[in-house]
């Protein structure tokens, strides 16, 4: 993850408290999962009863997390875009700034119109090849700093997209932080030749070896 030093903009703790009191707009309401029940897609989320539930790995099972009470996140998101794709999965990128004096951990992301589940990924060099995998613990944005999600680095993964994402399309995405904070932004669909699952894909087609996508079948990637 590339961390960019930005002018440190510290909000007074009190101001943060006020900002996080209420959500600006009503959000989609999902059925609330029963406590600790199994779920099927890593990274899936449910918004219910003012709380967020995240489908997480628990040993060999995927289970719904305990609900985390929602609030408005002070994170600031800019330069967001998502790779144009017909079907399968695709990735999204953005510049995220934490203007507060406490680190903020992003644990999930959601774009319910376009995907049933989003994952937080990192890219690692493994056996001489670049491979993507879920980043344990999510993305931490240090106090007063900016992180850049970019091709070849940390990124958001939209799994099994429900509809094609075309150039110029605005894809609404919400980030969810460990303390239940949510921030919404729009990522613009952009044609991009890179940000492939692994470089092997360019010649060998899909190869999920070395990937940790929770054993999911992701289907084919479009627009390669």
């Amino acid at each position: 993850m590339r961390i960019r030093k930005s002018g440190v903009r510290l909000y007074a703790a009190a101001a943060v408290g006020i900002l996080t009191v209420a959500l600006a707009s009503p959000v989609h309401a999902d059925p609330a999962p029963s406590e600790g029940s199994e779920c099927s897609m890593s990274g899936a989320t449910r918004f219910a009863k003012g709380q967020t539930f995240i489908c997480e790995r628990d040993g060999t099972q995927l289970r719904w997390s305990d609900g985390i009470r929602r609030s408005n996140s002070p994170l600031e998101v800019e330069d967001a875009w998502v790779k144009v794709m017909d079907s399968g999965m695709t990735s999204a990128f953005a510049t995220i700034t934490n203007p507060t004096d406490e680190p903020i951990r992003i644990v999930a992301a959601r774009s319910i119109r376009f995907t049933p589940a989003m994952e937080l990924h990192e890219v690692l060099m493994e056996d001489g090849a670049m491979q993507m995998q879920q980043k344990s613990g999510g993305f931490v944005v240090p106090a007063g700093e900016t992180i850049v999600l970019e091709p070849g680095g940390d990124h958001l993964m939209l799994m099994k997209i429900k509809q094609s994402i075309t150039a110029g399309e605005e894809v609404p995405i919400r980030l969810i932080t460990a303390d239940g904070g949510r921030v919404k932004f729009e990522a613009m669909g952009r044609v991009f030749a890179g940000a492939n699952e692994s470089y092997d894909d360019l010649s060998d087609g899909m190869d999920h070896g070395g990937m940790d996508h929770g054993g999911m079948d992701h289907g084919g990637m479009g627009m390669r």
Binding site: W81, V84, F93, A167, G168, M188, G189, R190, V191, F192
Partner: protein, 419 residues
Amino acid sequence: MTDHDEDKVRRVSRRGLLTAGGAAFAGAAGGVVLGRVSAPDGAPLVAEPTPRSELSHVSPAGVSAQQTIDFYGVHQAGVDTPEQTYATFLGLNLISSSAQDADSVLRIVSDDAARLMAGRPSLGDTEPELAEIPARLSITVGLGHSLFEKTGRADRIPAYFPAIPSFSTDDLDERWSGTDFYLQIASDDPLTLAHAQRMMVKALSTLTTVSWVQPGFRSPTPANEGGRASRNLMGQVDGTVNPLPGSAQFDSAVWTGGDPMWAAGGTVVIVRRIRMLLDEWDRMDVAAKEMVIGRRLDNGAPLGGESEDDPVRLDVLDESGLPVIPSSAHVRIAHAESDEEMILRRPYTYDAGFIDGVQDAGLIFAAYTADPRRSFIPMQQRLADKDAFNRWNTTIGSATYLIPPGCAEGDYIASGLFT
């Protein structure tokens, strides 16, 4: 290394480049790592590029390398912007006939233009470093008649955006004709321009195809206000009589009025590709050329005048009673007969190699007007009828576009037109 040593390195570096080649070769053969060798006089020599500070310039743009033009504003950039040294004109066609796709094109173009013009990379920029020298980059987008028609919006075509008739002197090649979209990308740095062009064509590649690309360049003459006029390949000083940006005359000549409201503050651009018959022009002597143009070649002064900015005096007669500026001279025919006829000329030279041994070069003549019905069309009709220049110039391409007004930050060009 001490300061003294560093001085020594710098002093020998020029000569070192020559000797280092041989020394490095010998060194490499002996298994020595290339890059640090000794000059024959024993001074340490580091084979490295000349420091930036010693180069005469780092960008062809010179002083304007870091200058930026605002994308956001009442009008689009690239019209009242002082002409950049390089400009590329592109005609693109929408692959589908979907209004939503047309809207996506405008969103992408606006987003890319705002970033690149500010000297920042576009979203997903694969070569972000090439965005670092904006050099007055401007990106202007225009809409062709065919776009309105194919997206079912022909009823939104303003009356002041008519089809331009063909003229008797035209020899139009379909290759350079009207398209759905128009992009005009200009900068004082040609690499910046090429990068912006590549990023935008790539970003639009699922929505549009490129029909034509016309790269051009210019070199201003210093005499004119702001150095706006330039010479073309015939040696002619071209574009002297232009409305001055910011003046009331400019505003009424160039920017469109309030009907329809959505297009107010825009303009209409006519892009003509004019091939010059340079080998024929070469047969003429200077005096004859000046009679054709109506201006002196050396300083651009109108015949009968002293300097480029002198008024064009059409009524002055010589001793024999003939007009000093001949009746068929280009400046006479092209002279606006009223303020209504004023247009903004923003010509660029093109030089596209040779066709069957004949040079293919000339002018990309971009004219901007609030209403071509009262300006460009009557003027061009007169030129077609009488201009002495026609013998050495052939218009081979013509395309016309509506340039919508600018937009505010957070918005995009022509938002709402296709949604």
